[in-house]
Amino acid sequence: MSAYFEAINLGKTYKTPSGDAVIVDGFELTMKKGEFVCVLGHSGCGKSTVLSMVAGLNEISTGSVILDGTEIEAASPDRGVVFQSPCLLPWMTTWDNVMLGVNQVYYHASKQERNQIVEYYLTVVGLADAMKKRPGELSAGMRQRVGLARAFALSPKMLLLDEPFGMLDKLTKFELQQVLLDLWNRERLTAMMITHDVDEAIYLADRVVMMTNGPAARVGEIVEIDFERPRDRRELMLDPRYIEYRKQLISFLEERVYLLDSPSNKTLAA
């Protein structure tokens, strides 16, 4: 197995007045090219910290991250990030928001080619009618569609999604998961997605990485999701393996909750 992405002994430590706070410690993960990995864990366990370190938005304390043979340093458009809040620039239209990134990445392309790229991705995410609207005129779901289009339009080596659908209602979430999968099926980008939604993780991922609870969170368990692609949500739900995966993931999370609550674990962690 050729490792396209590799996180080696990745750790994050914050200096605080009362000593070092170890958030993430010894996070190890390798991914193949074109693999979709979901990172699952309780809120506050350090999932997002891992992602922002990979994105280059947060400094790495220990270890390193290697993407396509080179160690990552700062943030760069070769890792497209979809943030939890879409982070669109409210003074720009949908079109301009996507174009901002496209201009950076395809600076050598002609104006016409760049227009085509922006138009293509906005159409694919279903915003053909809203290209000239500002984010303030869009619903939360549509804003996140723009967020997806913006990330994919960069043609990044890797896609990083930080709970992108965490703030959406269930129905919108389903829609957007579909949009994401459609896009991903076209391009097969290597993707790492942070989530705390078990169903989302099973539906989208090739592998689900479960993180232990912090402090000093690390990879606890990895579950391979063996469904063939393209996936159909209804068929998946009926598959007996689905129930099995679900049980496996939830029991891991519940166990952690139990461990977290037990007093013996607290003394251990300290």
């Binding site: 938005l57 943030a75 760069s76 809040s85 620039l89 409210p90 303030g136 005129e137 549509m142």
Partner: protein, 414 residues
């Protein structure tokens, strides 16, 4: 169906189809836009036209109109009482009627003459040459000046014509030297303009020009420095003490220093040039005092740009200039405009004092001159000036408010 302004785009396609047949008057949208333009008073009228809950709109219009009118009436009453009490040997607080007279030059019918000592009898058809306006009043003076200017240009034209006639006559006689001389004279007279006294309305324009100059220079200085303070903590540390030190200084203290500068920089220009030393001194003082709110608000705005937006810039690896131009400046525009609004308020306030000190032909000079006159009529004119100064200040503030609202997005953190 009343479409809301913030209708989400989910059903926009249906609505578009629904609206297509013709442009429909949307009272809600019009009212929203009026609010945005600082004309919120008129939004119930817009709703009323669209038959949107008429009873409620009428009630709102009545409240919004009646209450201020009542308050104003009470104010006039208190003012009148005070005017009848506060009197010295030479002056008194002018009554509302006297102030009205000082502006218009005409007494209000049935109230009698506001300055009974200055004219004999109440019904005398005074000041026939100025359309019946008292030439000591603001409008009477303006009318007199206008008449003088007209007279001047009539006689000027006559004189020019005379010299032209003489030139043609001389040419006919074959004396080209004389003809040249007469033509020169004609040109010389034609080029002259009337140098009368400044009227109150001229002075308003000069004041507006002065604050425009001061405010533009202040903005051009404050925004770049503010941006630098916001993006570079080191620069901020370096400059902050100076800002804190100079911010509270009174315009009256700046005046002599600015005066030295303008005296050094400006020679005596012709009187119709805008390079008047007094004007630029006044503008300089305005600039020095109105600089600070913009500077500080810009610095705060730039320093507090949403982290998410900066992360976008980081991920896209935007260059320094693009980051400032595309992300930082637009994101801090609301605060910059808050600063500009404060600045223009400070500037207008300072301007009157600066005009007085610099003897710039603006409203401050008007107030100063009237104060030097010292009689009740002049004091009444000062009261008129107070209302005008307040009104213009309010107007300037409203303009800035509109800009402020235009650059502020309803939801900044999207």
């Amino acid at each position: 169906m009343s479409a809301s302004i913030v209708d989400t785009a989910t059903n926009s396609a249906d609505e578009k189809a629904f609206r297509k047949p013709g442009i429909r008057y949307n009272p809600n949208r019009v009212a929203h836009n009026l609010n945005k333009l600082g004309l919120g008073y008129f939004s119930p009228f817009a709703r009323l036209i669209g038959r949107d809950e008429p009873a409620k709109q009428v009630r709102e219009i009545l409240t919004n109109t009646l209450l201020p009118v009542v308050a104003f009436a009470v104010f006039i009453l208190i003012w009148s009482v005070l005017a009848s009490i506060v009197k010295t040997d030479s002056v008194q607080i002018p009554s509302p009627h006297q102030s009205w007279y000082a502006l218009t030059g005409k007494a209000i019918p049935l109230l009698g003459h506001p300055f009974p000592d200055s004219v004999d009898g109440h019904s005398k058809p005074y000041f026939a040459e100025n359309e019946g306006l008292d030439p000591k009043s603001i409008n009477g003076f303006a009318a007199a000046e206008k008449a003088n200017a007209q007279k001047y240009y009539v006689s000027q034209n006559e004189r020019v014509q005379k010299f032209k006639d003489r030139a043609t006559a001389a040419e006919k006689e074959g004396d080209s030297e004389k003809a040249e001389k007469y033509r020169g004279n004609a040109e010389m007279f034609a080029s002259k303009t009337y140098q009368g006294n400044k009227t109150f309305y001229d002075q308003i324009w000069i004041s507006l020009l002065t604050i425009l100059i001061g405010f533009v220079i202040a903005t051009l200085i404050a925004i770049p420095i503010g941006v630098l303070c916001g993006i570079s903590p080191l620069f901020n540390v370096a400059v902050n003490p100076l800002i804190q030190l100079f911010k509270p200084v009174s315009p009256l203290a700046w005046f002599p220093i600015v005066f030295v500068l303008t005296t050094w920089g400006i020679d005596t220009p012709p009187s119709d040039s805008i390079w008047q030393r007094a004007l630029w001194t006044s503008a300089g003082v305005v600039m020095l005092c109105s600089l600070w709110p913009t500077l500080i608000n810009t610095a705060v705005g730039v320093a507090s740009v949403d982290r998410d937006h900066l992360n976008v810039a980081k991920v896209l690896k935007l260059g320094w200039f693009k980051r400032i131009w595309k992300i930082v400046l637009p994101a801090s525009l609301p605060l910059i405009f808050t600063g500009l609004r404060l600045s223009i308020g400070v500037g207008w306030m300072v301007l009157i004092a600066a005009d007085m000190m610099a003897q710039n032909q603006g409203l401050g000079k008007f107030v100063w001159d009237m104060y030097q006159n010292g009689d009740t009529m002049s004091t009444a004119q000062i009261i008129v000036a107070v209302f005008v100064i307040g009104g213009i200040g309010f107007f300037l503030d409203r303009i800035m408010l509109v800009f402020q609202r235009l650059v502020t997005f309803e939801d900044q953190s999207i």
